[in-house]
Structure formats: C-alpha cells, structure tokens
C-alpha cells in the first residue's frame, strides 16, 4: 500500500466528512418528549386504599427515604395516616416497589423530578396519590408493549 506522512490525517478527515451527511441523532428533548421505557423508575404513585401499612417498604428502603405513619381504623386494622417519600434521599433502587406485598406503591413514568426548593422534593403521597400519572411496570408482572429498535449506522 502507498503510504505517506499524513495518510492517517486524511483518513480521519474522510470519516468526519462522511458523517456530515448522515442524519443527526439528537433527541430534541424539551420539544420532543423522550420515549420512556415501560420499566422506568421515575416518580411515585401510591394507592392509599390498598395500603395495609405493613411498613415493609420503610424497612426495605436503604436510605430511609420513606416515612409511614400508621393508625388503627374501626376494624382494628392498620391503615396509613401519613406517607411521604423524600426524593432528595431516594436512590430510585426500586426495593420498596418490589417488596410491597399488596402492590400499592408504583413507579410512574415521570422523569422530570427537579424542584426549585429542597422541601418540594418531598412527595406527600398520602394527600397527593399521583394516580393519574402513567405507571411503570417495574416490579409488577405486566405484559410489555412492543417497541421498535433502530440501528444507527
């Protein structure tokens, strides 16, 4: 092969030159919402009617991000009185969701959880159950939708 000083440089230029004419891959995020996978671990949704206030999620949480205050109802059963998750401490590990025996806590597909104030990062899930948010299937045995894969090159 014919070889000379600067051949590598020209080869490099040829690669970047080719790429100029390829289609770009940028996701224009704030304008185009990303395609959130079904198992996404984002925000939380909580069904307080289902909750039996067993406290397993609190025990499972590695970082003590969950606060559960329980009380007895008229049938002498435990019911939650207060349920908060501090997203500032949450590792999004999903151990609480996986461990819940009655499936009352879910991940949602929310992904914008930044807040302006530190105290806003505490989710008061008892008063705002966040049931309308799209739920993720993490930790739940649910049929998954088909998603298409595309090659990039």
């Amino acid at each position: 092969m014919f070889s000379f000083w600067g051949k590598g440089l020209l080869k490099g230029l040829s690669v970047t030159g080719k790429v100029i004419f390829r289609k770009n891959l940028t996701e224009e995020y704030p304008l185009v919402k990303p395609n959130i996978p079904s198992q996404w671990r984002g925000g939380f949704a909580y069904e307080k009617d289902k909750c039996i206030a067993c406290g397993i999620c609190v025990l499972e949480c590695p970082n003590d991000a969950i606060l559960l205050v329980k009380e007895k109802d008229e049938n002498n059963k435990n019911v939650p009185k207060e349920y908060k998750i501090n997203l500032g401490y949450c590792l999004s590990c999903g151990l609480c969701v996986e461990s819940c025996p009655v499936n009352c806590i879910h991940f949602t597909k929310e992904f914008e959880s930044a807040t302006y104030l530190k105290k806003e990062s505490v989710l008061d899930l008892f008063n705002n159950q966040n049931l309308e948010a799209e739920r993720s299937t993490y930790g739940k045995p649910v049929e998954k939708k088909e998603e298409k894969e595309e090659g990039i090159l």
């Binding site: 590598g8 080869k11 490099g12 996404w40 671990r41 590792l91 151990l95 894969e149 595309e150």
Partner: protein, 364 residues
C-alpha cells in the same frame, strides 16, 4: 541562568480530571518534575454506610462506586454474598449476568475511549462511541428502568428476566457496533498526531504495573495478560471462546488499543452467550432475610476498569459487619505520581485519560 520550578494545581476543578481529582504538579517550564495526587473529594463513605444496611440494600450503593459500570459492581457484590451463602445461581441467570456484564464493559470502554480522544483535543472523538453507549443504556433502561444506577443484580440471580425485545435490541446493536469500531479505528489509529501524543508516552513496565497493582486493560497493556475471566472464571465465562488482548509497550496507545480489542472480544462473548442462553429460573430460592454465617470472604471479578474486589465480613446478622471494596481505579491512579515525572503537562493529560478512571470509584 537561574530557573525555578513552580507548582500548579491540576484540579479539583479542571476540564480533564473528569471529576474532582486534584494533582499538584511541580513544573519546570512545561516539564513535570514532581507530582502529588490528592483524592477524597468524592468520598461518601460507602463502606461505612454499608455496615448499617441489610445485605440486599447495599446493592444500590455499589452502583455509585464506578458509576459508568454499575452492573459490574452490582454483579461483584452479589457474587460475594453468594459465595458467603454458598448459593448456586440458576444457569439462565448466570448467562444473563454475563451478557449484561459484557454489555456494560462495552459501554464503559466506549466512554473511556471517547473521553481519551476528547482529552487529546479531538472533541468529535467523544461523540461516536457515546452513541453506542447510549444504545446500551437504552437497552438497560428498557430492561430495568434505569440508565446509570441499575440495582439489577440480586443475591441469587437477577431482578428481571431478559425478553425478546432485549435480545433483538442487543443483536441489532452488536451488528452495527463493528462498523462503528472500524470507522473509529480509521479515524484514530493512524492519525499521526494521535500517535505522536500516545506512542511511548506514559510507559509502564511490567514490573511497575505489578508493583502498583494495576489491573484491567491498564495491566494488560503492559504485557501481563491477567484477566480473571480466564484465570479464575466466574459465572459461566469458562464456556465461551474468547481471547485476552495484550499489548506489550505499556504506553498510552497500548492502553487505548487494548480497550478497543476488548470490545471486540466482548462482542464475541455476548454472541455466544445469547446463542447458548438456556431457559429456566432467573433467581435462586433464598430465605427472605439473608443471613450468612459468621465469617469472611474475599471475592474479585474483572470489571471494565480492572479488578474490583469485595471483602465481606459477616457476624451472622442480616447486616454485614464490614464491607470493603478494592476499587481498581484507586489502585490504577496511584501510579500517576511516578509516571508523570519527566513528561509534559499535555502528556500528563494523555496519561491520565488513558487510565480511564472514575472518581466515584477512587474515593468510594
């Protein structure tokens, strides 16, 4: 003529320390005559924290050690606990672990290589591999819902079974990766400037590498083909046919090329693992509360950055008595002070980047 050396602080905030590494360089003109590496700016005390967590609760913390290869850290930790418990992992779970770990290796090397080229001044070089890494992270986020901090491995298996989607996605990815690698080789390998910046720069001899306890691609670039996947095969690595890339110069270029070749070997491993993937359980039956017998155990595995080790002491309670991680980056960067001497500042950047370290792991 009287000249004087002076000191400059490279870091903790510097564009190419990739985090908060602090190196005090003593400089004569532009030549380094002394160097002192300071670490600890990202110390979170994971070892101390882990002492107050139950065994499964430590897994999410290991994600944060080497946050570019969270899966591999997960894997090592659960393996150590399994070794203590004497658990047999179901075969399917083992295969899944291998596939995931090798994908993670590819993702990590893509970052390592990309950042390396970027630090040498070719900013474009970071984008091409990052696209591939993005693909892997997408696969992972479809698998377990998280892109960086996976918490995917479980003691006795894995959290979620891989499905058709994942396998198909991985196959598509593996098909396009070699093309990209070829393109990247064309872009970088013969580039005269790249060669002049990397050949014979930051040379580490075999004995130096041994003495400093280097592991991973950094060791293998110095001519010692020590890879735990071959020497002490864990999971099902002994069932696959793959090579350990070794280079013999120990310079920055070799560290780059070893990584590139490792990616190719990983592709081979993943293809074989996917072809052999058996059906079955993905998690061994274990009691709900994990209580290993009192005792201790050291286990290590070949992470993308080197050998991650975990020393675990149990006192028979559900919480580990002591967890210690032998972090590869911590060992690898300890050689900086010695290698830096006599090089230029620009070379130091090249050396630093060629080691592919992560401060989360250095400081634990």
């Amino acid at each position: 003529m009287r000249t004087q050396t002076y000191k400059i602080n490279l870091g903790p905030q510097h564009p190419s320390t990739h985090g908060v590494l602090h190196v005090v360089l003593e400089i004569d003109g532009e030549t380094i005559v002394g160097s002192e590496t300071n670490i600890g700016y990202l110390h979170r005390g994971i070892e101390k924290l882990a002492e107050n967590k139950k065994y499964p609760q430590v897994i999410p913390y290991t994600d944060r050690l080497d946050y570019l290869a969270g899966m591999s850290n997960n894997l090592l930790y659960v393996q150590t606990v399994e070794k203590m418990l004497g658990t047999e992992v179901p075969e399917r779970a083992s295969y899944i672990r291998v596939i995931i770990a090798e994908l993670m290796r590819i993702a990590n090397h893509m970052v390592g290589i990309g950042i390396y080229i970027m630090d040498l001044g070719a900013v474009t070089g970071v984008f091409y591999p990052f696209i591939q890494r993005e693909h892997i992270l997408d696969l992972f986020s479809k698998l377990c819902g998280s892109r960086m901090t996976f918490n995917y491995m479980r003691i006795g298996g894995v959290a979620v079974d891989i499905d058709e989607d994942f396998i198909r996605g991985t196959e598509i990815f593996l098909d396009q990766l070699p093309k990209m690698l070829h393109e990247y080789h064309t872009l970088v390998d013969e580039n005269e400037i790249f060669l002049s910046r990397t050949k014979n720069i930051g040379k580490i001899s075999k004995s130096q590498a041994e003495s400093f306890g280097l592991t991973g691609p950094n060791l293998r670039a110095s001519g010692l083909g020590y890879d735990l996947r071959k020497v002490a095969p864990y999971e099902v690595y002994d069932r696959f046919d793959f090579n350990i890339p070794v280079a013999y110069n120990g310079d920055c270029f070799d560290r780059y090329i070893v990584r590139m070749q490792e990616v190719e070997e990983s592709i081979k491993i993943i293809r074989q693992a996917m072809a052999q993937l058996p059906q079955g359980e993905i998690k061994a039956k274990l009691p709900r509360i994990i209580k290993p017998e009192a005792g201790d155990c050291y286990h290590q595995a070949e992470n993308p950055k080197g050998i991650l080790g975990c020393y675990l002491v149990s006192d028979g309670t559900p919480k580990p008595y002591r967890v210690h991680f032998r972090r590869p980056s911590f060992n690898n960067i300890s050689i900086f002070d010695e290698v830096a001497i006599g090089h230029k500042i620009a070379d130091f950047i090249a050396i630093m980047a060629s080691f592919d370290f992560v401060l989360g792991e250095v400081d634990a």
